[in-house]
Symmetry: none
Subunit: 384 residues, 2 copies
DNA sequence: CGGCCTCATGAATCCTCAC
DNA sequence: AGTGAGGATTCATGAGGCC
């Protein structure tokens, strides 16, 4: 190794950290209607919202018509148009509060079925949310259609949205790719429904919540779109799957839940949850989040000496490294990227992977490597 | 789980038969805007609408693959809308006409992506359509996300709707179950995108239409929700996949298409299409009532001897048939379906078509066939 | 003719930082 | 806020050529 001492690298993109996490009710289940409870939270204070809203108006409880009149779910005889209008207002209300409490670069997930997801999707677009993906949860073991009148309803839909078209949402691309055996994670996810030991029971042995979601689903959502230390809000907390997985993954969480029974089950559940330790939490990092290195610094450090010949993989072109980190290939001179781009007549070029050099192998043999390998050595040295 | 409103399930009786098919422009591509053209059709005259409207993609700048090649995007005029409001009005207009021309017991299919399907879904609910299922077309070979910024957009969504909550829509439950090897057909369908020989080209060898749908998709839609002799309307006919499959399956069809180029390609395509003859259709229908065959019975009958090696089409895996009709592949043992499913890590597997064997051809040569062929022989023998 | 390699391409809301 | 440069990023499939 060379005489690499302290090397300064430019800092990787750091995400805006919450300025007021201390004032947030972290790790608490707020008891009440989610709109009321969210109104108590400050603007732009939450990194992620995960919402599993009810689509059954009876579960919705105290709902008012757009004209303000109260709806009695049991006795009122409303038609489907009334019910859509009421559901839409309910949806607009909670989504509006979510938008306010989310940070500018925060994101929203909503899960639903065909009964409600088209209402929700259209309304969140109207509110300015920008859909990044719709994700399909394909159930390995859905409930069959007992009457044989339709297709087995074997999936639910999740919407992943940023605050707007231009917002800089967070996506752990590498972690997802690693999770999917080095193939890009697709928009269809396969999980079994929540059952067996994971399914929470009440004192009488009945399921504690009718629509408990599998932890694997939340695990993937949080791993894909949050970092450790982020604040995750779940306005329809239920039995606290979001909180349990957030705690395990070292994310902070806030829940809203109106039903005391659910709050009780959720609290006990999350209490038992143990956070993973730091090494287990480590995930594959994207190049994008690694510090940026100038090619000149690699030359300066002696890892690629001026005068070294570099060439593309097929040796169509050969260029010479110059002392200032520029390269020369015939009449073309400039950065490793710029010259590679011009030579190939391409819209862009990553010089780090385009250019190669001959390095010494472990047994003294010659080894052709992308110059990115030299950057790797540089970064390794910089860690000390 | 509940529904948005009370469900009333009515028993299907006999379907209203078309009274005025003769006055309809059957087998014609109406040249013009679909709303204008549909207005010329009588009320309640169509059994099924299949609609593939513009998706309102709202693409930004150019996109290149990592190798620098340019992605041919959908930038056609017909997909340009200035706002959600304009797209919504467009959607409301064509859906309104569809609702009028559909028979009371008719049904509507719409296909879309996350860009437009939430608008479409909410609007069709507002118009009184009743969603029966949302179906996910899971693409085996979607275009990747080249920049690593989102999940691979690997699916599109179809909505299947009746005229209203109480309408008596048509569903060929048995045919779907048979097609899915005696398991209820699920709401997620797996098909490759339309490519290869099926993809229509123009005179210059360029794709004739940017968004041609696979015939397999239409085949399943029409088989599931129409009968021979039904009238199928496609308001966004494009290159006529709906018409081609309808003709093949003995359904009548009407298309609307504004672009002369598309109409020309579609006409030529459908002209060449041959309807399945009556015996083929009858064979297909008789399959519905064919008894379920256990793989074990085929083995028992000596059509596939225990010890026979079976393998998938690409010979990635080889398994051995055992006496009880289970199969063994390395550590995995179980049914032809179960083992195939585990090996592929798929949600399900039709072992009859997944596994193959070497059979003796008519001239003594070796012939690779799906084991479904052995099932066919078994059934043939059972008829006697 | 088969095996292997290369190349083209598909409904896509596809970057980020410093100056 | 606009601009320019750095540099990160792809999977399945079919067609065609080469040996």
């Amino acid at each position: 190794m060379g005489e690499l001492t302290k090397i300064r690298v430019t800092k990787a993109k750091t995400r805006a950290k919450p300025v007021d996490k201390a004032v947030l009710p972290l790790g608490q289940i707020l008891s009440g209607d989610c709109v009321t409870e969210m109104r108590k939270l400050p603007d732009a204070s939450v990194d992620l919202v995960f919402a599993d809203p009810p689509y059954n108006l009876q579960l919705g409880g105290d709902l008012n018509r757009p004209d303000g009149s109260h709806v009695d779910a049991v006795t009122d005889d409303w038609d489907q148009f009334d019910s859509f209008a009421i559901y839409d207002k309910f949806t607009r209300d909670w989504l509006t509060e979510c938008k306010r409490v989310l940070k500018p670069d925060g994101a929203l997930w909503v899960i639903g079925s065909y009964h409600n997801i088209y209402r929700v999707g259209a309304i969140l677009q109207d509110l300015g949310f920008w859909i990044l993906n719709d994700v399909v949860w394909r159930k390995t073991n859905p409930m069959p259609n007992f009457r044989g009148t339709r297709f087995t309803n074997a999936h639910e839909t999740l919407l992943w949205c940023s605050q707007g078209e231009k917002s800089r949402y967070h996506f752990n691309y590498r972690a997802m790719k690693t999770l999917n055996d080095e193939l890009q994670m697709r928009s269809d996810w396969i999980f079994p429904i929540c059952s067996g030991g994971e399914r929470l029971k009440d004192d009488t042995g009945h399921k504690a919540h009718p629509t408990q979601k599998p932890e694997a689903l939340l695990y993937r959502v949080l791993l894909a779109t949050t970092e450790a230390g982020d604040v995750v809000l779940d306005p329809f907390f239920g039995t606290g799957t979001t909180g349990a997985v957030a705690k395990r993954l070292g994310r902070d969480w806030i829940g809203c839940e109106r039903e005391a029974d659910y709050r009780k089950v959720a609290s006990a559940r999350i209490e038992k949850e143990l956070p993973l330790d730091e090494s287990a939490l480590a995930t594959m990092q994207s190049r994008k989040t690694q510090p940026r290195v100038a090619f000149g610094a690699v030359v300066e450090a002696g890892l690629l000496k001026p005068g070294t010949e570099i060439f593309d993989k097929k040796r169509r072109w050969t260029a010479t490294v110059r002392a200032d980190g520029s390269v020369e290939c015939g009449k073309e001179t400039g950065s490793i990227h710029g010259v590679g781009k011009v030579l190939q007549d391409a819209p862009s070029c990553n010089g780090w992977t385009f250019w190669h050099y001959e390095a010494d192998g472990p047994n003294g043999e010659k080894l052709v490597q992308p110059i990115d390998a030299a950057r790797g050595l540089y970064l390794l040295a910089a860690e000390d």
